[in-house]
């Protein structure tokens, strides 16, 4: 079986989360591996949460804002 990475994305409500919504509106298709967590600003994501994500088994973390 091929490797299926698990990716956590922290997305800002005002820009990248909105962009992810827009990707849907435009029916863009992308891989299903990413799970987005909505935050009010990418700046609120404490570095500790990022390291926790890796500890919990994430293969990649995206912070978008």
């Amino acid at each position: 079986m091929s490797f299926e990475p698990k990716i956590i994305g922290f997305t800002c409500n005002w820009c990248s989360y909105a962009a992810a919504d827009l990707a849907g509106v435009s029916r863009m298709q992308y891989p299903h591996n990413v799970r987005l967590v909505r935050v009010m600003c990418s700046g609120m994501v404490h570095p500790r949460v990022v390291s926790q994500a890796f500890e919990m088994g994430a293969d990649g973390v995206l912070v978008m804002g």
């Binding site: 849907g24 299903h32 009010m40 609120m44 926790q52």
Partner: protein
Amino acid sequence: MITLAEITDVTGEPGNFQVEVTRRPRFVDTEKCIACGLCAEKCPKKVDDEYNEKISKRKAVYIPYAQAVPQKYAIDADNCIYLKSGKCGACEKFCPAGAINFEDKPQTVNLNVGAIILSPGFAAFDPTGIRTWGYGEFKNVITAMEMERILSASGPTEGHLVRPSDKKEVKRIAFIQCVGSRDLNKSRNGYCSSVCCTYAIKQAMMAKDHVKDLEASIFFMDMRTHGKEFERYYERAKGLGIEFKRCRVHSLEPVSETSDIYFRYIDDCGRQLETQYDLVVLSVGLCTPPSAMELAYHAGVELNENRFVESSSFDPVATSRPGVFSCGAFSGPKDIPQTVMEASAAAADATRLLAGARNSLTRTKEFPPEIEVASDEVRIGVFICHCGTNIAGVIDVERLARYAETLPNVAHVGRNLFTCSQDTQDIIKNAIRDKGLNRVVVAACTPRTHEPLFRETLKSAGLNEYLFDMANIRNQDSWVHAAEPERATEKAMDLVRMSVAKVGLLTPLPSISVPVNQAALVIGGGISGMVSALELADHGFHVSLVEKANVLGGQARHLFRTWKGELIEPALQELDARVRSNPLITLHLESTVGSAEGFVGNFKSTIVRGKDSRVVEHGATIIATGGQGYVPEGEYLFGTSSRVFTAIEFDKLRMVGDRRMKQAKNYVFIQCVGSRCEERMYCSRVCCTHSVQAAIELKESSPAGEVFVLYRDMRTYGQREELYRKAREKGVVFIHYEAHQMPKVRPLEPRRLEVEVFDHILHEPLRIVTDIVVLATAITPNAATAELADIYKLPVDADGFFQEAHAKLRPVDFAADGIFMAGLAHCPKPVDESIAQAKAAAGRAVSVLAGSSIDLEATKATVVNANCDGCAMCLDVCPYKAISLVSEEEAGGKRNARVEVNLAQCKGCGLCQATCPKDGIYVAGFSLEQIAAQVEAALAG
């Protein structure tokens, strides 16, 4: 809200009208109807569905469309078997709610209101029976409204682009422009419908999106993409390979065997050509429907010869009857943003008359007292939305629901066709009450659009509105993984699990409100700024009006007439006098805004005048700082020849009776100077109309002189088209040129110039000898735009104009609350549209200033006193300066430092939370613990 209702009589006077309203029977009791749809399922009578432009069928008992408000059925009396013949009654038998009432009768309701706004909209032109296009005769010739439904995922073909005759996928499609517009032969409509060019581009683009190798052609006379960002859209369409053919279509005929459509047309070189298409879309125009003409009659409002409401450029939403206003396509064909602006303007003007009676008849919504849940066991309700087929067509919602039931603390799972519908709100409320739910998760579209609705539902069920989370299983799942239903379902399960994990940790948050300073600041004393200031003052609010020049009037001081022919200067003088004499307006001339701080309801701006500066406090801000004329950089001998002018110079010189103008016989106007080019990829909207109007005046004052207009696309949109027709009748010569073959201007002899332009019909260069060349120059942003963008942290678009919050629905708002825009600072526009936007901006500001306080989001930084040691690292990172350091004395006399948050200034961004090394501050609703719980849940699958 009163549906199936029409005005049948209006008496009384402004401020106090008696209106007779006739309500047609619905035959369904809206109080009882639960919109279950059983009636429609059992109804034996099929009727053409007008929502889908009659491409599909509905029943005689129906709901107009899936998201309809109110979400209640109605019986169509013209088609109901029972109402026609007394037999059937199936719906009544099967309705579980007993909502069917065949005895329902027309009702007359008398309403007593202060003002009336008419917004009946438009009808699409019906091309049935007109030989040229064969609509109604050939199955594969359809109208744009039908195309709109075919392209729609919720439409009759579920968004598959197939043609009506044989359901074959369309490979070659043609759009024909100006069907029922700019045409007095085949229709009665001489005007341009203003929106069809851009909507045809949109449909062609969407069609190409549906069928990858689709060949799409648009047959047009002039491509009128004159709105904000439309020109770039047009360029994008060209880049996508959509063909634009400038020509007249001669006739359409079916190719008998295949039901393709055979096309004959004459191209811009005069060649006769023939081709074949699978499907032909007629870009039908906008016209006033008979029902709207009836409305005008009953309301006592006059219509013009085009059957639109006639209005003055200076009072664009007024009608012939005082106290009655109009907005939208009823007063002329227009697009959505212009319609929304006029709607806000009409609301502002209507309520201005009634300012004294503000809040006299309104009630504030009462919510039941909040149920205390903090210490209760967590009981989560999960509501999964099908969104019609948007979600359920991809995701296995049944499996998702079964899965949600297994998650910890989930006490109830429900599925709904449309979770956003009104009846589902009742379902959610009942579930909260009956199942004792104290947390709610909705798995549906996006919280960005629907979170407020569901929060309100929680509130009305007595639950704190923050005990809620949404799982985005549409925009970020079913729509983006449409080809992988299995994966999409798994992802939906993860997303629901994440929301359930988060919502269990949420705690009730108290509501916060801030007082509103009920005064406004208007920046810019041009025509827009003056109109905004007066509108606000008439509503009873104090206004500070800031203008950098020592006079009021802005760019309008250089203009001569509106397109309707009204003189601008007298109107400006009147506005000037009204502004100066209004006791509620404080005028700051030769002043600018130097700096600003604050937020909606509470702004503080520093007004600078020379060395003086003063701070004004205001609750709302309107930016109307205008634009400027483009100064040609040597194009067409500008600056070299004393006989080449910009349009504004030309107007001025004619007004003062300059000798060059008096002696000249021949004139050449060159359009698009500085517009629609690489540096400024936008249309300046006003220049075509201005040149045409000037050309008519020149022809009228000296019919023997020759007037030429060299243009790329003649954009006399809407009812301005009549000026274009009149100019041609008067003998003005219009010559089309292409961007790659720009006209050339050469000095010929003293006081004469030669203009060379490539004539497409003769296929050779044409030389025109002229006395004067007038350049129709662009409107560009001015320096104030960038300065204020910086001061108020506002976005500007790629062309340097201010960026509105939403291109269609919020054309006067900035994304930041409490700040609005009007006039040229937003984009190029003529005087009437600037005034409409100025009134709209004032109206939007009134909706902020009308209340004495505003409720704020409770998502704010919260200090954990036990952990905070006052290290103050968060003070430096806070972009809103919302955090301050305080110290307090403990019992033992020891001083303790910690931080404090100003809730009104805090935007809940959480930079503090990410910076704090001691967990001393967090954002309510987005704490690190809650975020981590979501991550953990995401990875647990």
